[in-house]
Symmetry: C2
DNA sequence: ACCTGAACACCGTTCAAGT
DNA sequence: ACCTGAACACCGTTCAAGT
């Protein structure tokens, strides 16, 4: 029974993204040639370029999947009844689902994303969406009386997003075990920032 | 009067690093060919390779300068009498001395640093040094009674380092104006984290 | 030693030709 | 349409030859 073209297309694209991810992690983005990806995926250059127009498009495909993963987790914050517990859950979920390979891939892709203007914009948009989700969660938490009334949702959301980015960034240097171990500290810092009464002079 | 070789060597190396930085910012690390750097620096490939053994060595040279810049600022925290004021100063100093070009270069170099194992180790070491400087400052601040006695210096230092990294990282996406505007929020978050009494259940 | 520029092995991408 | 693999323009790096 002949498969529809759409199905073949989807399968081939997925196979190429997997092969590319394997190569990027094993040799680095820079050192990975299209020939490497072709060999890993078991197809000729012509075939690969039938599915992806360039090396950059492959990176875009991998970025998309990463963004979906983070987005799904952060979006839960927007509707959480207990924001602080949900934030701790989100951090734990990210840590639990991030392997050495994921971190290496994240590093390679982040690196590439920073230099391709189109991807930089995509990353900025993903960031805005993340901040918006956290902000929505904070507004809800404040109206429910779950966090201090002095908390300014927008500012606090940006600070939490900075914490998550810094945590992931350092995770690429320090590995998945550090990421897991440090997750608790991150949640604790969030609690301190949000629950506390001001002691300003 | 003939210059000593050491002097010529130093001048040429500096000229090459400047030329490379200009190219990296203008075209991106990837899109910059050694020929571009040669043209920008006004020398032939053979000459350039006389001073730097590879494109990677040029990156290492630029990284070194960046690390020195951040290190000098963070080291001041270790001996500060008023840690919170010194932290706010450090953030402001970084923001004030970071231009669009610096951020673009930082992004390019960070990207490259992540994939070259030797540079990744260098970045990790710079990070450890930064955390150590902050930790020393926190210990001093605690003994002086400047911050809450409940603060665990090591954990708090890691959290502050995460904040700085996340701030700089997002700065590469959002530009120098955002970096300056958000600096105050960063210092405020640090104050809240360090001054506050625990309100844990 | 410092410098030149041609040469080498290799890269991302294209395209005529097949099914 | 899907696929092949040779071909093209270009890259980082080297090296014989000059001063």
């Amino acid at each position: 029974m002949r498969k529809r073209d759409d199905e073949l297309n989807h399968e081939r694209r997925k196979a190429i993204l997997d092969a590319a991810a394997t190569c990027f992690v094993r040799e680095g983005f820079h050192a990975t040639s299209m020939k490497d990806v072709c060999t890993q995926a078991g197809m000729s250059p012509g075939t690969l370029y039938h599915y992806f127009g360039s090396k950059a498009e492959i990176v875009a495909g991998i970025m998309e999947a990463e963004a979906r993963f983070l987005r799904a987790i952060l979006d839960q914050l927007a509707n959480a009844d207990d924001f602080l517990a949900a934030f701790a859950d989100a951090v734990a979920t990210i840590a639990a689902n991030t392997t050495e390979r994921d971190l290496a891939l994240y590093a390679e892709i982040s690196a590439e994303a920073l230099r391709q203007p189109a991807f930089r914009e995509k990353a900025a948009e993903a960031d805005r969406a993340g901040v918006a989700a956290i902000e929505a969660g904070l507004k809800r938490a404040r109206s429910l009386g779950r966090i201090g009334g002095h908390v300014e949702p927008r500012q606090a959301a940006e600070t939490l997003a900075i914490l998550i980015d810094g945590w992931l960034w350092q995770g690429t240097l320090k590995g998945p075990d550090w990421l897991k171990a440090r997750g608790g500290g991150l949640a604790h810092a969030a609690k301190t920032l949000l629950q506390t009464q001001e002691t300003a002079p």
